[in-house]
Symmetry: C2
Subunit: 346 residues, 2 copies
Amino acid sequence: MTKNEKSSPKITIFEVAAEAGVSFATVSRVINHDIHVKSETRDRVLSAMQRLGYVANRQARSLAGGKSNTIGLLVPDLGTGYIGEIIRGIDTELSWSEMDLILYTTHRTAAKEANYVANLARGMVDGLLLVLPRNPVDYIETLTRRNFPFVLIDHQGTVENCPAVGATNWQGAYTATEYLIQLGHKRIGFITGSMDLGCAEDRLKGYRSALRTNHIPEAAELIYEGNFFQPDGYAGACALLDLKNPPTAIFASNDVMAMGVMDAVRNRGLRIPDDISIVGFDNIPQSAMVYPPLTTVQQPLEQMGRVAAQMLINILKNGEKDSSRIELPTELIIRSSTSSPRDRVG
Amino acid sequence: MTKNEKSSPKITIFEVAAEAGVSFATVSRVINHDIHVKSETRDRVLSAMQRLGYVANRQARSLAGGKSNTIGLLVPDLGTGYIGEIIRGIDTELSWSEMDLILYTTHRTAAKEANYVANLARGMVDGLLLVLPRNPVDYIETLTRRNFPFVLIDHQGTVENCPAVGATNWQGAYTATEYLIQLGHKRIGFITGSMDLGCAEDRLKGYRSALRTNHIPEAAELIYEGNFFQPDGYAGACALLDLKNPPTAIFASNDVMAMGVMDAVRNRGLRIPDDISIVGFDNIPQSAMVYPPLTTVQQPLEQMGRVAAQMLINILKNGEKDSSRIELPTELIIRSSTSSPRDRVG
DNA sequence: CTGTTAGCGCTTTCAG
DNA sequence: CTGAAAGCGCTAACAG
């Protein structure tokens, strides 16, 4: 009922104006860093603000000014370190611009996602950052038509021509696969991510290309379709290991699944990397913490967040369309979960 | 510059009112679930809203209504799964109440933290959820005086008598330590968390009490002060292992440090748990994924988030003071990083 | 350089 | 049960 009573008598620009002996418009100018204020006046206002402990009301500024100075972040999940890293980057960039971040988690519910986007685009936020959108076609079109600023993170899909930042997934997968091949592996299992995601598709393509380039026949049985969750890695590894002619290495489309693979491999009494090499993708913090430390393809997660935020802020500021896609480089991080295959037959 | 032009002609309650043939006040009533509207009229308004695709402007509602329907979440970090779990819980509860979540990350910067809190309490959010606050004394007093709604999560400190949810840290540490003792361990190393945090203190106390209860002399050399980060675990384990009479088990105050301990132990060629048992605290997702799976004390993170959100919403709704502290139970999760000690001497 | 005048879109009395 | 009127705190032209 009673929220703040006598204790905080609601200091508005009017109070500040009175205290400083100017009109409230001048106070507004000071707040907004308007150049057309005599520096002497400015100082007077500033100190009045200090004295009164004035804090601008964001809501009112938004309503009047037409912008909220907050951006919305739509993420599927927060379970793994994956998103956390991205947020760290976004956050860094945003604090520079004094913007707030509203977090919307969809928990992998596509319906919720589309719903959010529809409502978000109204008043609450000035722009949207969409991480790993599930079925962007649903709303990208709407967003674009309304000319609503947004940037896609880690998504390369069918949608063309909209601002996005991602990583070189194809290249990363290619490099990792080739590394395995150079180690001497001939049968390399692959566990895909959610194939409705562009990044998952690209990783699979990278794997295939590396095989092709190195004249290693592709075997359908060696490709297991997962969904980026740990159990998929476990199940995939089991399926792969049950093959008459099992792989000597398994490349999982993300680190979380790679850890599932590790579990499965160990449960069968096989050693890593002696009996089987394992490679992941992402380089999430815990990939260095498992045993043995996971060889993986690093995505510049934090940087992706930073760049995406920069892009969005830029669009917001300059009204530029900027329908470019930025690809940040991936990098193979070699740790201890990979080695040359030992002759299993001999 | 041009944000949304002809494409989205800005549907306000006025447009809806016209479409439905009522006054805009009636539309407002419908939006706010006011009972004093003929159901027939309500239906007319509702369908008009549908047709026009009306979405309420949150900013305006806030300004006029005096509340923003968003709550602020202040967290130190997002790196580990720890916070992610809590957020999941908060999020679940909030979506029930149709509230938004504004995320503020302090990245362990105390100054930033206090600063945020000061500003937050003004217009932007209706209430605050503070996870693992660093130096709450700075602003708890302010918040309380202003009668600003907030709930502390996972913090039991010197500040008395304010709404908070935490876990039974003392009990958890006690139980885990006793488990180790029952396994036959006599020398148990302990790595503390940041000792400015109440939870860290309680865990240490739990450890000590268990020792005392079981008539095991406490040795200062067996307690290493850490800061909840992985390197602390590593360094702590090294220090402990360098002792003339090293421990046969190490209890780290959180899982992340426990993983650091694992690293250190392995680097010395010792086996887990044969040569040394390791216990963590938190039960973050990856604690089950490392090798060997970590024995740890589970904190009901998700539930803590849910309960905290409930408390806050309750305060917001009923204006209740509710200065209670809720403690959720911890639970010992026994996995494979612990076993009876082997005779190292013999 | 500074004050005046309108609203932003909605909630809330207060009258009917 | 519904309409009219008065702001919420601030920005943004427009005049000085």
